[in-house]
Symmetry: C2
């Protein structure tokens, strides 16, 4: 599995991806899932990928090849939603080509993507591209998207991700969500790739955080301390807080 | 969906279930999923259920009927693991009976159960009964079990559930996990049914916490305050914490 998330904030965009892949529990690898395209000074396009690794790699290779051609590519699409449709179409082409042989082995070749960035004077945006090739945007109320193992770390994002959060705080929250997910699920793991696209910069700042980083230790320690303090501070369940619930089957009383 | 969890602590057992059921988003109901059997003074058996509602109801009706018969029942099994196998066998009988017609409509009739309690002078225990009818115990390191929507609230349990936790603290943590799940997923919701079986008591204390309970408000407020404080206290990601990650495709640099 995989866990990738992206946020669309007033200051700009944030992307965070883990790097663990697995084809069965005894075939675990480390692959980059945060991909950056800066084909020209007027644009930056980020693609995060989850799903079949062979599919996502061929999709990225085709996208790279298209940059050099004269047809549609990330270098010439006019708006970000067109970039999302383009990625979805390339992904469908790849899956279609291998569909018959994948079906024979019972494997699924599908992949899901987050496409984000800024093109020219368009708004910075993030879009989730489904395996079917269509897309959705993040909402204004919950300005984030997730792909892969999205359930374990969702509570952190719901708590703290608002459009007016600053990018530094957003990075802390994103990494907290990532670390919580990795603790709960072996198929998500470090290193973690973090990318930040500031509004109108048309470029990305990218960094990798290794699994043995002291930063991750400090982050986990702050969470453990505060969560334990919260458990201490929680109210007790008092009898007045509950209504009586009769056993549904008791001796002689069905 | 559903979210049920159970803990096996030194002091005794704790069970918590939501009550929301849905067959499609426009068919939402409230059904009890925490079921208690106290057929005799020497035993208490708790059954939590997730999955097909028709299956779980027929399973519970058959278990109730068996209490009055002379065959195997929760009134006469000698150990808790035998109770788990018995529940699994009843569930398989129910699913088998409806299998053909369920398959015609493409529905799954399977159900998953947590069976817990204490029989005579046996150890209090909790077991997860799979749709296949076999079971697993909770581990000593992570002495809890979950069925249904288990991912959203797992981090709370991993953080705080140890066998030596007291039942009052365990109840706080269990309800925190439940509330976090309900916030993240509409298919889990109040009221919540809480049951506590103290060691060697051979009976359960059961209470229902309604969705509009002031207790749940206080609980959510404590979590929100502490999580926000944690976000404030988290370390910043400094450049020294990351290694440079080159864009993989840039203009003229593939």
């Amino acid at each position: 599995m995989t866990y990738c998330l992206a946020m669309r904030l007033d200051e700009g965009l944030l992307f965070l991806s883990d790097t663990r892949t697995n084809a069965g529990i005894d075939h675990v690898g480390t692959y980059r899932k945060l991909h950056v395209f800066e084909p020209d000074d007027d644009r930056v396009v980020v693609i995060q990928s989850a799903g079949n690794l062979a599919t996502t790699q061929e999709v990225l290779d085709r996208i790279g090849r298209d940059l050099d051609g004269s047809g549609e590519s990330l270098a010439n699409v006019g708006e970000l939603w067109q970039a999302a449709l383009y990625v979805g179409r390339v992904a469908n082409d790849v899956v279609d080509r291998h569909q018959a042989s994948l079906a024979r082995s019972g494997a699924s070749g599908t992949a899901t993507f987050i496409v984000g960035g800024q093109i020219d004077d368009g708004e910075p945006d993030i879009l989730l591209v489904y395996p079917e090739g269509n897309y959705i945007r993040a909402s204004d109320d919950r300005p984030y998207l997730q792909i892969g193992e999205r359930k374990y770390g969702k509570a952190w994002l719901d708590l703290a991700v608002r459009a007016d959060a600053d990018l530094d705080t957003a990075a802390k929250v994103a990494l907290s969500s990532m670390v919580a997910t990795a603790l709960s699920n072996l198929s998500v793991g470090p290193p973690y790739d973090l990318g930040i696209v500031r509004r109108d910069a048309h470029r990305i700042d990218c960094g990798r955080i290794e699994g043995d980083s002291p930063f991750l230790d400090r982050l986990s320690q702050v969470w453990t301390d505060h969560l334990n303090a919260a458990v201490e501070a929680l109210p007790q369940v008092e009898p007045a807080d509950t209504t009586f619930l009769a056993p549904d089957w008791t001796s002689g009383n069905r």
